[in-house]
């Protein structure tokens, strides 16, 4: 009896979280039901086919490019020794600090017809001028978005490779498995949950991206959603398009769960790091050159370009309000991260005790917020909140209490909740992959020592997943720093952030002036990312010796 209540607990927690996360999504699905048939038939005939094709190309492209970049870089830096390895290991995560929309305006600025690169070519090598591909195309969008988010795959794949430890790799090689055999038959399959985790993030982020694709003027579902809403004045048609997105995400997430059904990845203490093989000759040079090139285009060049623009516009743009913008960015980021982490831990913990189907489904549903364009999600939230507010004020009226305006709207409680709904999956993935360390035997051992209930959680479980919490927390924090549409829509008066400032300036075409808030934002994002690479990794894991 007792045990059945305990096991129900997991389901109750995860379905509670799912209810909060899904309320705005359900609202969107509901309003997508009653779309204007006239507008819908127009969209179906003239718009939808193109959107489907473009979105498929973009997502497939970004997933492939980030997989290729992330896995190869992680493989090189985890298993081999070459010049600069330590530096690359740390610095290849930093592109995460650059928002995709900032990466997009930097690279279009550099590589457009009127940009410095093509202008120089026309000047000095006119015969080559016609060879430039159009940067504002599907290919350009794929490259630039990939450069901004491949570190997710790199980070997760590195964790996967490291957690394997020496034993597996050496076992394979001692049995005569060659290097490639080991990579494809042992290493990659073993690291699959991590790599998939990274790729799912990439997939969702790309689906939800609006900022970058609109700089490229590359039409995807997101741009279609906004065009239906802003141009055709049809919120319902926008919701209908968004519903298609939601369904796509759920299908993919379900497929990924199904692929991983019955697989258990328990980490049985592979804490001896793999001994790295020293590369020599051509291999050594190629490895260093490859890593340097990726680092250069994904971080160094954009950072330098931003600094050049900042220097030009600093006098015009800088003012005392920047202190506020930075403080607001940090404050909202920390609040949102705390809420998201708390929820991520509860959710993955509830799923661990009893991984039955309904708990799993509820948990997966809670993670779909990441794939929705921010503004659409925010509209859903606003409607849910307005509905709640009218209930509250109505009840208060009946009790004879007069409230001044709304209770929730415009209050600071909304933004962190909304960030949680949007970024739960980002925090959840690292936390839940560390949960796999908590083998059932740990609980049995603890029970023998009479450690149960809350003490089991605080003394044994949380310390073991601390690293996952740090990684998840940092990724969420950086995401919130970069987040623009939700912040723009739900922030209370006076709560402008750096991302809001960037939006204000770029939407007026003021690229150079936008560089200052962009640089500040990148620096802000580098603090947590730096913590992850320089401090988080060097800490010795305290693993309780059995």
């Amino acid at each position: 009896m007792i045990s059945s209540i305990k096991y129900q607990g997991g389901f109750i927690v995860s379905s509670g979280i799912a209810a909060i996360s899904l309320s705005p999504v359900l609202f969107i699905l509901a309003s997508g039901m009653n779309a204007d048939p006239d507008i819908w038939s127009h969209l179906k005939q003239y718009v939808l086919p193109g959107l489907l094709k473009n979105t498929a190309i973009l997502v497939a492209g970004v997933v492939s490019v980030t997989a290729a970049l992330g896995i190869s870089l992680a493989w090189l830096t985890s298993f081999y020794e070459f010049w600069g390895r330590r530096l690359f290991e740390k610095w290849l995560i930093f592109p995460l600090a650059i928002p995709t929309y900032v990466m997009a305006f930097i690279y279009t600025g550099l590589l457009d017809y009127s940009g410095p690169v093509q202008t120089a070519v026309r000047e000095y090598a006119p015969e080559l001028a016609g060879l430039f591909p159009e940067i504002r195309s599907g290919g350009g969008a794929i490259m630039v978005i990939s450069l901004a988010i491949f570190p997710y795959v790199f980070l997760m794949a590195s964790s996967g490779f490291r957690s394997m430890g020496r034993s597996m790799v050496e076992a394979s090689q001692s049995l005569g498995g060659g290097r490639m055999f080991t990579l494809f038959r042992v290493t990659l399959p073993m690291a699959r949950p991590w790599i998939f985790g990274g790729l799912i993030l990439v997939f969702m982020e790309t689906l939800a991206d609006f900022g970058a694709v609109s700089v490229f003027n590359y039409d995807t579902f997101t741009t279609g959603i906004y065009k239906a809403w802003y141009g055709l004045f049809s919120v319902n048609a926008a919701a209908q398009l968004a519903s298609i997105l939601v369904v796509m995400v759920l299908v993919i997430v379900a497929a990924e769960s199904w692929l991983r059904r019955k697989q258990k990845f328990f980490n049985r203490g592979g804490h001896q790091p793999v001994s790295r093989k020293r590369l020599n000759g051509t291999g050594h040079f190629l490895a260093s050159a490859f890593c340097s090139t990726v680092l250069l285009v994904s971080f160094v060049i954009p950072a330098v370009q931003l600094l050049i623009w900042t220097a030009k516009a600093f006098a015009v743009e800088f003012g005392a309000h920047y202190i506020h913008l930075v403080a607001n960015t940090f404050f909202l980021g920390l609040m949102g991260t705390a809420v998201t982490l708390a929820v991520a831990v509860s959710l993955s913990y509830s799923g661990r005790r009893r991984a039955d189907l309904k708990t799993g489904i509820a948990a997966k549903l809670s993670l779909s917020g990441y794939a929705l364009p921010g503004t659409v999600l925010a509209v859903g939230i606003i409607h849910v909140v307005a509905w709640l507010d009218s209930r509250v004020t109505g009840t208060m009226d009946m009790l004879g209490i007069q409230l001044q305006g709304a209770l929730l709207q415009g209050s600071l409680i909304l933004l962190p909740l909304c960030y949680m709904i949007r970024f739960l999956t980002v925090g959840y993935n690292p936390v839940s992959s560390h949960m796999t360390r908590l083998t059932p035997s740990i609980d049995e051992a603890a029970r023998l020592m009479k450690v149960t209930g809350p003490a089991l959680l605080s003394k044994i479980h949380l310390p073991l997943i601390r690293k996952g919490m740090v990684t998840g927390g940092i990724l969420v924090l950086v995401e919130i720093f970069k987040e623009m549409p939700v912040t723009l829509m739900l922030r209370p008066f006076g709560w402008d952030t750096l991302a809001v400032k960037i939006f204000e300036l770029t939407s007026e075409g003021e690229w150079e002036r936008a560089a200052l808030p962009a640089v500040t934002l990148v620096l802000a994002g580098m603090i947590p990312v730096g913590f992850l690479t320089f401090i988080g990794r060097s800490k010795k894991q305290h693993v309780p010796e059995g």
Partner: protein
């Protein structure tokens, strides 16, 4: 780690109080950017002692926000760019009709809602800009002429997703009819020298670099760019002077019907339509004052006088969805 998270959670709950507007302040939902309105709002507070609290964002999003907040909304005034957005807000019945002799005197009829629910506050012209090294003024005439055969591969445009182009095409439908507009848009698309750009500034830079010879942009973008870089080979051409006139649009405001301070809000709009404020409002963005007794900025006057279209801008809103569909069908991205 756990302690930090717990501490933050407490802090979060502590800070989750709500902000209610003070009795002597007005709340503006502004789709006009902060750096274009801030000084003016502060001036009003200094002069009249009424604080203007504002939040900036995208017009359709703000409208949606007011629609869901209803009586609970904090907004007294919706300030936005483009008549299409203003018309849509009026259409959704969130703006209250205002009778004000001051506004009637200061703002010409075609720059406001026929039912007085919204009022233009500054005028922007969307016209032709050309590369002075490659195009002679004599070769330019109307928006329609840019769809002709001799402009093949020479035209650059901003994306059809921007409301400025949606309003332009809507007004073409209003003045020239749907069929003629359809062939204009299809001609534009086949004359493009490069895929549509995401901003007017990018379009201007590309014209200056010689990727295309002419484009259709809002004049203040031209003004800003020339201020930064006076040597660019760019010139302004006033389109359609012998017929309908240059396509103009407004940024403007309306009073939210749920506001508890409608009288104060009206007084603020009146103040915005008077000489002093008009000067600041227009000059902040190199636009034209809507009040005809106020001269535009000296730099703006240099571009010469022009004949604006006098078709009522409410049409831009009424026909916007049709314009968007037409552009979709003709493949204008």
């Amino acid at each position: 780690m756990t302690k930090i998270v717990t501490a933050l959670l407490f802090l979060f709950i502590f800070f989750s109080g709500q902000a209610v507007a003070a009795p002597d302040e007005l709340v503006v939902y502004s789709a006009r950017k902060e750096h274009l309105v801030k000084d003016l709002f502060e001036k009003y507070e200094k002069e009249q002692g009424i604080k203007i609290t504002y939040i900036t964002g995208k017009a359709p999003v703000m409208l949606q926000r007011i629609l869901s907040e209803k009586e609970n909304t904090a907004a007294d005034i919706l300030l936005t760019v483009d008549a299409g957005n203003l018309w849509h807000a009026a259409q959704k019945e969130i703006l209250v009709p205002v009778t004000s002799p001051v506004l009637d005197r200061n703002i010409p009829d075609h720059y406001k809602d026929p039912d007085n629910r919204w009022f233009g506050l500054s005028v922007r012209a969307r016209t032709i800009v050309y590369n002075t090294d490659r195009v002679k003024k004599e070769d330019l005439s109307t928006y329609e002429a840019l769809a002709g055969e001799d402009w093949k591969g020479r035209l650059l445009l901003r994306t059809s997703k921007k409301v400025y182009n949606q309003s332009l095409v809507a007004m073409l439908i209003a003045t020239l009819g749907e069929d003629r507009t359809r062939s204009i848009v299809s001609g534009w698309v086949s004359n493009l020298a490069a895929p549509p750009y995401s901003s007017d500034t990018k379009v201007l830079e590309a014209i200056a670099a010689g990727q295309g010879d002419a484009a259709i942009v809002n004049t203040y973008y031209y003004g800003r760019l020339m201020k930064q870089n006076p040597d660019l080979p760019l010139g302004i051409f006033w389109a359609d002077q012998s017929d309908n006139g240059v396509h103009v649009n407004v940024s403007g405001a309306g009073i939210v019907k749920y506001s508890k301070k409608i009288d104060q809000a009206v007084r603020f709009l009146e103040w915005l339509s008077e000489k002093d404020a008009q000067k600041i409002f227009a000059d902040a963005n190199m636009e034209y004052p809507v009040n005809q007794t106020v001269l535009p900025h000296a730099d703006v006057r240099k571009w010469g006088a022009f004949k604006p279209s006098t078709a009522n801008l409410a049409r831009a809103g009424e026909l916007q969805a049709r314009a968007v569909k037409l552009m979709d069908i003709e493949g204008y991205k």
